[in-house]
């Protein structure tokens, strides 16, 4: 029997393998990954200092444990050059950890799953290349921790989820942090100004300098090795390390080259199937209803549904509203980003303890965010969603937890 092949050993790929194995002890599974295969929880990369963990301590399972638990063949340091959907095989190139074991080979598959993830969007700034790092994988993070040893000043580009968490983690662990963003307040796309101001205030307690409504024209490496960012407003920011946290772009090249339909991400139906009936895709490389959703929960839920489908129990992917936790020192936040832009925010609460809710033009709850002590209202908010029909099913949240 030919194996089910999963390309990518990130959260989506490994979760799918785990879920298939829970349902079917016999199905052969092969996972191909261009980097080392290790299980880790990616959201921890932007909070590891506060967790008192080294980069290596974030590893939940090494490859040997994964092989044993998943009963799968795991091919690391192996990239996929080509998919031949007519022959139902992939062409792989293994390079080994030191680029020494070069080998190209074909692998036939029964079903193929693309879990190729997403990559940091490149900054279109002079001098960014080579001087700006992105932290999107454990390997990136291992290098980043080396890089910031004995360093002091860090500039973060982007005040979104990852930028804010890094700002909090680094500033509360002794680093001097600057954050620059072209918008007006942190997480502007998903929260109103009032909550943005509280987040800014909470993170600022450790001495973060914010530069909103600002962009960088050029980055120059100085003789002493420090980096100087020239802003379009004429000012400059000096730093030892610059992190870019401006967002991710789905890795669709392999799918595109193979003739699969892609847009911003790989296009899939509600069974996670691509335009080819034996090829599926899930996680950060796909778009769900036209939108990439680079979060843990949608990938997990899609993996669970797909594992059922692949083992003979065809079920649709259902993505109910998923609260996302943002870890900021002294001000915990839970947020369920609005799915529409049409509507308005309602804000209540005092100081850090805020509840903000987004209502569409029909006055239906479409998103919310809670901070400080108000996060205890999370269950209640989830139950207040007016049970919209998603893929024909009613949301599972029936009651709150109060």
């Amino acid at each position: 029997m030919k194996p089910t092949i999963i390309i990518g050993a990130g959260h989506a790929g490994l979760t799918l393998a785990r879920e298939i194995r829970a349902l079917d002890k016999a199905m052969p599974i092969t996972i191909v990954n261009q980097d080392p295969i290790q299980a880790y929880y990616k959201p921890n990369l932007s909070k590891a200092l506060s967790m008192n963990k080294s980069a290596e301590q974030l590893i939940m399972k090494q490859i040997e444990a994964l092989k044993r638990d998943l009963g799968a063949e795991l091919l690391e340091y192996t990239s996929v050059l080509k998919i031949s959907s007519e022959k139902k095989c992939i062409v792989c190139h293994a390079k080994g950890p030191d680029n020494k074991a070069q080998e190209t080979f074909e692998l036939p598959y029964e079903n193929l799953i693309l879990a190729t993830g997403a990559s940091p969007i490149e900054l279109p700034i002079n001098g960014a290349s080579g001087n700006v790092v992105s932290v999107n994988t454990l390997q990136d993070y291992i290098q980043f921790r080396e890089m910031i040893k004995d360093k002091k000043q860090i500039l973060i580009i982007g005040a979104g989820f990852v930028g804010c968490e890094f700002a909090s983690d680094l500033s509360s662990n002794g680093y001097q942090v600057d954050v620059i963003d072209r918008e007006n307040w942190p997480l502007e796309k998903v929260i109103p100004e009032r909550l943005g101001a509280e987040i800014k205030h909470a993170i600022s307690k450790n001495g973060v300098n914010w530069h909103f409504q600002s962009t960088i024209d050029e980055i120059v490496k100085e003789k002493r090795g420090t980096l100087k960012a020239y802003l379009s407003n004429g000012s400059t920011i000096q730093s030892d390390v610059i992190i870019s946290a401006i967002g991710l772009s789905p890795n669709i090249q392999l799918a595109k080259d193979s003739g699969l339909v892609t847009s911003r991400g790989i296009v899939v139906d509600e069974y996670s199937r691509t335009s080819c009936c034996t090829i599926y895709a899930l996680g950060d490389c796909v778009e769900y209803d036209g939108q990439p959703l680079p979060f843990i929960a949608p990938a997990t839920l899609a993996a669970k549904a797909l594992a059922n489908t692949l083992t003979g129990n065809k079920i649709k992917r259902i993505l109910p509203p998923q609260p996302v936790a943002i870890k900021i020192a002294n001000c915990p936040i839970v947020l369920c980003p609005p799915k529409t832009k049409e509507g308005s925010w309602q804000v209540s609460g005092d100081g850090q303890d805020l509840e903000v809710a987004f209502f569409n033009n029909k006055q239906e709850l479409c998103g919310f965010a809670l901070s400080g002590q108000k996060i205890s209202l999370k269950g209640e908010y989830l139950s207040r969603y007016s049970k919209p029909k998603i893929n024909g099913s009613v949301l599972p949240h029936a009651s709150g937890i109060n």
Binding site: H11, Y41, I296, Q322, P332
Partner: protein, 64 residues
């Protein structure tokens, strides 16, 4: 304390201790796992309770 259990999320390794509960989420200390509502979601990764991901570790307060 010997009957107080610890449960861990498979996806993110979030730990729920029955002894400490989750007061910030409105779950008082001493709340048994089975008394947590079925629609409760992991505070870190938003996976469900009965949905599979929480795992009993041991009858001790120690985690890793």
């Amino acid at each position: 304390m010997s009957n107080s259990k610890i449960w861990q999320c498979l996806t993110c390794e979030f730990v729920y201790s029955e002894a400490t509960g989750l007061p910030e989420e409105g779950i008082p200390p001493g709340t048994a796992w089975e008394d947590i509502p079925e629609d409760w979601l992991c505070p870190d990764c938003a996976m469900g309770k009965d949905d599979f991901v929480m795992q009993e570790i041991q009858n001790a307060s120690q985690s890793f």
